[in-house]
Subunit: 229 residues, 2 copies
């Protein structure tokens, strides 16, 4: 069931890493290996907290002054190691089922990520719910990733929705900040490994354990608003 | 400089994984691989939150009813994969320096862990501050690991300290709970990837980013009490 008319357009905007696919911890490992190879030991917890952040900001925050000279090499190495972990990637609990349920109830599912096209192809293959995804964004759509609101705005443009007819679901503080700047309600999930208190402090209207928990309590969640539009 | 007499005995009890060595995220990966091999996909964030917990409790919480039949095999596989990551293990920022400083100021440094002897050997080799470590505990000393207070009590017995003359430093909610049950002040570090709010809620008197941050602010931390005894 698809939206009947532009006036009924409504969308759930999803971050992908740590929200739909269990990839945050693979990103941590890939960045750590990349940083070590360029001569920087960066502790895992600091990398974890920067996952989902625009990569230039991630590099600045973790490499400091060396980001300019070494950042591009680190990005290339990260991508090689990350894509090399393809076989370890799995959808998070309930991710596929939640996407299917929203699609079935007439809500556009939009992947609002700044992953590269290559990464996004892998993530979509892992998810295997392509027929239920209305739109996607990728690195090609935005100059700067989260917490810049550009990704969210692109996702809303594409789905013909607004702050009244869209809800963003993500696992990172950066998702919450981007949603807030774009004027969209944010629902946080713990499945990326970031705590409830941090997601709430960053503006989450509600926090669920994972996609399965959100699906189980969908009708009392902030997404219920979309279902009744 | 060693304590002058039993009356001046004082000790800093340290958890090791995630507190002194950057190994929590390696444990997550090793458990995930082990679980997958026995037919269980467990999302990374759930494994992360169970790190530091007694392994039988970790297995019960993550495998449910299959813990009895598959737990031993999972433990063996985890140990193989974890020890196989030996080359990726590094001390956390400031860990060595903090241990050396406390030792130099007459505080016994005790590794209060329930790691196996084999794991502990690897962790000590990674840390490379053996001459500054007064005592250790390991799996051989306790029937059940954290949050059971047995590990902390063994560490206090060995260092001839009490709740008045010891402070526990760790990164996990389980460290905080074990310390609380043993009647010892707990100082939390964020370096294991668990949030400030969770550590505080579990009873941390103070929370620092990592060993380096604690070292930088040692004289205004709960450890200052030990230094002035």
């Amino acid at each position: 069931m698809a939206p009947q008319s532009p006036s009924s357009a409504r969308a759930a905007l999803f971050d992908v890493d740590g929200t739909l696919v269990d990839s945050n911890y693979l990103h941590v490992r890939a960045w750590q290996r990349a940083f070590r190879e360029i001569g920087h030991d960066v502790d895992a917890w600091r990398v974890h907290r920067a996952i989902g952040l625009d990569s230039s900001l991630l590099l600045e925050s973790l490499l400091g002054d060396d980001a300019d000279s070494l950042g591009d090499r680190a990005k290339d190495l990260h991508m090689t190691y990350y894509l090399g972990a393809r076989d370890s990637m799995r959808p998070l609990a309930g991710a596929r089922e939640l996407v299917r349920e929203l699609h079935g109830r007439g809500v556009q599912v939009v992947l609002a990520t700044s992953a590269s096209e290559e990464e996004l192809d892998v993530l979509r293959e892992v998810l295997s719910v392509d027929s239920c995804i209305a739109h996607t964004t990728s690195a090609a759509d935005v100059d700067r990733a989260k917490p810049d609101p550009g990704v969210i705005r692109a996702a809303m443009d594409r789905s013909s929705t607004s702050g009244e007819t869209a809800v963003m679901v993500g696992d990172a503080v950066w998702d919450a900040e981007a949603a807030s700047r774009a004027g969209v309600t944010f629902v946080g999930l713990l499945s990326g490994g970031i705590s409830r208190a941090e997601l709430e402090a960053a503006g989450a209207e509600a926090v669920f354990e994972d996609a399965q928990d959100l699906l189980d309590r969908l009708d009392s969640s902030p997404l219920a608003r979309l279902l009744s539009l």
